[in-house]
Subunit: 501 residues, 2 copies
């Protein structure tokens, strides 16, 4: 198995090391890019880009896939350590997420689900570390009841727990009233309901919200939380099941590899990894893409899957539409930190922990081949915790992890993490918008500019910000290009850019 | 718009007429089948066949589509009468049904949803006609509460409302305990809980069950109901929303046409409608399909999408696997009758009716362009109601419809229905298995026989018996054939049949 440059491993003996093994690493990094005009160049090999490349190559088009990293998967990849997959980014899937489920079925992987958190039989598996310094210990049912009660108060804007506000979760802007909710931050909404929350509801809710948006209460749009709630069938149990329960037993990189391998097997895919793109220029009848190293590629169309927070750092000619640029300069709110720990304590398998600040939420996520518990933890990185790849990142992550329950986390064998917030190709994790951004920018973010199309989970219609959304939007642009096919031959016509951007 | 031979319209003035207009009718019925060996012949142009043909043609294969009817859609099609679509078969869809939702997104139709039943504000919108001859009138919330209470008692085999019995709804056989539930009929399960049901719960539950399975209490497998419940997120509100709420505003035939038109536009699709297939013969390196009129077609592979209840009526050489034949001879239990009424009574828009026998369940399904209410009704056809296309079918349907609420249904302007049970290409409606069949036959029904593959909603993995399941299974076999591609050229290799059936 090849080792990616990305991610960090910390062990007590070796300290911090950069790079993690993954089946997502593609070696050799290129299959000889040909000196010709491709039908399409796909920029980025995350799920949106992989799906676009797969759909276009299987339909007979000649595609060049360019990726800045040494691996596929973008903000979703699994590191394989001693036969166990750690999900560095996107993790959980569900059969009610239509686009990813269709892919799992396509590759006969729909039975390959594993259950992540397990409810404990004990009465004290949940530790809530309160802001007054005390710790409240709960059973898992009580933990769920508190969270459900708090979240239902938070989302109940219409007396119908959001069903009236967002009756069609995949068409979240259907009801004009949502414009009002998009103006509110989490902090604004909390102020509206603060008299209805018990102290422990308030503490748990704030942690849950910060881990959902990965941003501060002021930075996160209340509308985006309402939308998540609607997508999760307006139900806390479904929220937990659809967002935090079922993961792939062999890791997300296996699914990504299936898609990549199918595209590759067509013989129509040229790829080049470790080739960050600097300039994307629509010259009218074709697009020229220039990498940082100055290598140039030509294609009749380009599909950019560059994430929202990174778009501003690539030069587009003509320039990005003003709305695209403004949204990217503003950036979405999510700067979540995710840390995995392997702990020699089997009792942690049913553990659930809540902390104010640092890492906010942790739970047992699996059992490693060595019989240790794999605990996953999330934190909002600002302002409490940043894990830049500096020498003390391992120690910082260790302290934040131990803080959940010092007596239970005494024997941490390993920490695994990926600092997405300083990762130049991500600059954040799953997209969660700031107040007002959804109303103002989603349409323009989706918009085509001449021969350049834009696909990303960050502006998907349904599960925006999720693996499912990336697949949805990658398929959308591939279908749009397919519509430009002359149908008599499997090659795209040259096309002069109009003002359709 | 062309007129299908299928379906019936009854009006007070003109009486019974056969044939309904639909955009699903394909005219001319053939685009000149060429005298050559196709890559694949797809038998049946329902959703399974359309998806298989679309996936294969867009991947560059040469496909012949043969259909016995004059239209696409199989057991799902919409008749267009005075600008209003009546769904003759499969109707409702939901964003939690992954395969159909992916198709709606592909054709930019995911916002084209319309809400079918509407809860009334009044307190007496629900009429339950009791077996003692009286009528109990309820508000819609009370109706829901009774039904939810009864169904939860019916499915609660594990103290967790089925979550333990079927933890993975798309992998329903995961837990071996379901074999026990598959031995039970609805009648067996009712006997287990009869002391827990109130009289009105019992009456409503039996009607609901008979309309779910389309069979008698003795013919219907309790497991299949447990499976529906699990697919619907173990929740009565979701059951109602996923199975009975959201329909396509322009009708299902529009979606079917999108799929057909995409396949057609590749230039790789040859089709022949009104060509019922008599014999499918695997000659070892290719398949010969003979129609009833004796026309023969050759292809390297055949995909049969012939429904379970019809499979036995087509000659396969070599013969069908014994399990396939036995399952088809037995047949599934569903002989539901669906009747649409256009009634000059706007108050019926929020109506809901329950009857024992004849048509069992009715509700307002829309408002026609004339401002009348469209009411849809379902009944288990055996033993109470059969609507063979005999001269008195209109009068029988009329009597059964009026029985819901004689004073409200005084002014029926139109009845529209399709007798699926005597339809030789269906011999029943959505698949609902008899006790024991799921355990015994599902694997063999999916199995390939040499160069012949079998796809149908009737043995799908997830939403078996639904539109979603047809799409899932059509895509499965298309992917399997794609795996046999040499990848250097878009044409299937000739292949000698092995013993892999």
């Amino acid at each position: 198995m090849h080792v990616s440059r990305e991610g960090h491993l910390w062990t007590p003996s070796a300290g911090l090391q950069q790079g993690l093994p993954s089946i997502g690493v593609i070696e050799p990094s290129s299959n000889r890019p040909a000196d010709k005009i491709h039908d399409a160049v796909v920029i980025g090999a995350g799920y949106a880009g992989l799906i676009a490349a797969r759909d276009l190559t299987t339909a007979g088009y000649d595609v060049l896939l360019l990726e800045g990293r040494d691996r596929i998967g973008g903000r979703t990849w699994s590191a394989d350590i001693e036969g166990y997959p750690y999900e560095m980014g996107g993790t959980w899937v569900h059969w009610n997420q239509p686009f990813v489920w269709r892919e799992l079925a396509r590759y006969s992987m729909s039975d390959d689900l594993e259950i992540s958190p397990i409810a404990g039989q004990g009465l004290e598996d949940t530790w809530v570390n309160r802001s007054n310094g005390s710790t409240t210990k709960l059973g898992s049912q009580k933990e769920f009841d508190i969270l459900e009660s708090a979240v239902k108060k938070f989302v109940n804007v219409d007396g119908k727990f959001g069903r009236e506000a967002i009756p069609f979760p995949h068409n979240a802007h259907h009801n004009p009233v949502i414009g009002e909710y998009d103006k509110l931050s989490f902090a604004n909404r909390l102020a509206q309901i603060e008299d209805d929350l018990t102290p422990i509801e308030r503490e748990v809710l704030e942690i849950f919200l910060s881990v959902t948006s990965g941003g501060t209460m002021e930075e996160s749009s209340f509308f985006d939380m309402l939308r998540w709630w609607a997508l999760n069938n307006y139900d806390m149990l479904m929220f937990k099941e659809m967002c935090l329960t079922f993961k792939l037993k062999d890791g997300q990189s296996k699914l990504a590899r299936q898609i990549f391998d199918e595209a590759s097997a067509t013989g129509k895919l040229t790829y080049q990894f470790s080739a960050p793109v600097a300039i994307v220029e629509d010259q009218g009848s074709y697009v020229v893409v220039t990498t940082r190293l100055g290598v140039q590629y030509q294609a009749k169309r380009a599909i950019s899957t560059i994430p929202l927070n990174v778009l501003k750092d690539v030069t587009f000619k003509p320039d990005l539409l003003p709305g695209k640029r403004a949204a990217s300069e503003m950036g979405h709110a999510n700067h979540c930190v995710k840390v995995h720990a392997e702990v020699a304590n089997p009792a942690l398998r049913t553990f659930s922990g809540w902390n104010k600040g640092g890492l906010g939420m942790a739970f047992g996520d699996g059992t490693t081949p060595a019989g240790n518990t794999h605990v996953v933890a999330f934190g909002c990185s600002y302002p409490d915790l940043r894990l830049e790849p500096t020498a003390d990142a391992g120690q910082k992550a260790l302290a934040a992890m131990v803080a959940f329950a010092p007596t239970l986390f005494e024997d941490i064998r390993r920490l695994v993490f990926h600092d997405w917030n300083t990762d130049e190709f991500a600059l954040g994790t799953w997209e969660f918008l700031r107040p007002g951004m959804a109303t103002e920018y989603l349409d323009v973010l989706k918009a085509r500019q001449g021969n350049i199309l834009f696909a990303s989970a960050d502006w998907a219609k349904g599960w925006r910000g999720f693996i499912d959304g990336a697949i949805e939007d990658g398929a959308r642009v591939a279908k749009e290009l397919g519509g430009e096919l002359g149908h008599s031959q499997h090659t795209l016509p040259l096309r002069v850019a109009g003002n359709d951007g």
